[in-house]
Symmetry: none
Subunit: 152 residues, 2 copies
């Protein structure tokens, strides 16, 4: 069989499905996801693809994996309270950000958001914006030194 992946790759589709099951608590917080072998059978995908899907959820902080044990749906889907908070998402640059970062409006940026704590209370929200791709930055004063690379 070939390996077509127009549009959405397979591992992302699988990640989406598993994410839904976690968010709807079809997979309850703190419990194990089905083992990779089971998911392989259910989704008719190779183990590598299943592992890639789980990797996505791990990066999102939705699951935690342990060698020889399995992948757990992380507890505490609760809003805030005492746990740290750190998210990352991609957003298009508005005029203000575009101007500061020297990119075109609409350029995809990565927004890192975290909070600082003081006495177990959220003290401030910190957001950092950076172009998702360094290549998006518009040229400025280019001197000499013609490299074979011209990215950031």
């Amino acid at each position: 069989m070939p390996t077509p992946h127009y549009g959405q790759p397979r591992y992302r589709t699988i990640a989406d499905e598993l994410r839904k099951r976690i968010k709807t608590e079809a997979i309850r917080p703190g419990t194990l996801l089905p083992p990779e072998a089971t998911l392989t059978a259910e989704f008719q995908a190779s183990r590598g693809t299943i592992r890639q899907a789980i990797g996505v959820l791990r990066e999102e902080g939705l699951v935690a994996t342990e060698h020889g044990r399995g992948s757990f749906a992380v507890r505490r889907t609760n809003p805030v309270s005492n746990s740290h908070h750190a998210t990352q998402q991609k957003i298009p640059a508005d005029a203000r950000l575009a101007g500061l970062l020297n990119v075109d409006i609409g350029t995809i940026l990565v927004e890192h958001e975290s909070v600082t704590l003081a006495n177990d209370r959220v003290d401030s929200v910190v957001r950092v914006y950076r172009p998702a791709s360094p290549a998006a930055i518009k040229p400025a004063s280019n001197a000499s030194t013609s490299d074979n690379s011209n990215p950031p």
Copy 2:
């Protein structure tokens, strides 16, 4: 050949070596790493393993990879960054900020905005949000319910 990997896995060893080249600027900031095929030959490892190694560096923020182009050593921010831009303004909290800061929507926040520089270029925009008046913070809410499983 079997696949022995006692102790340090291969992909981590390769990541360590590449990291060293970046930190010592043997691979200069902003330039391309060798393509995966070249690294495959040099380290006598499969492409999957090379990709795993690069993935480690990507997570560390040392490299950025672009489809069809390659992986770049990221231009790093200077230790002593002199911010030339810093503003401060008051804004009402939207739902997202209000939830994180535990204040009512519409509560007046102070937004501090600054930028970090790298090689005289703007590298990122940083924004910090804090209630203009600490009195706006609502009394604590509770969490922590029963536990009947024992993962992490």
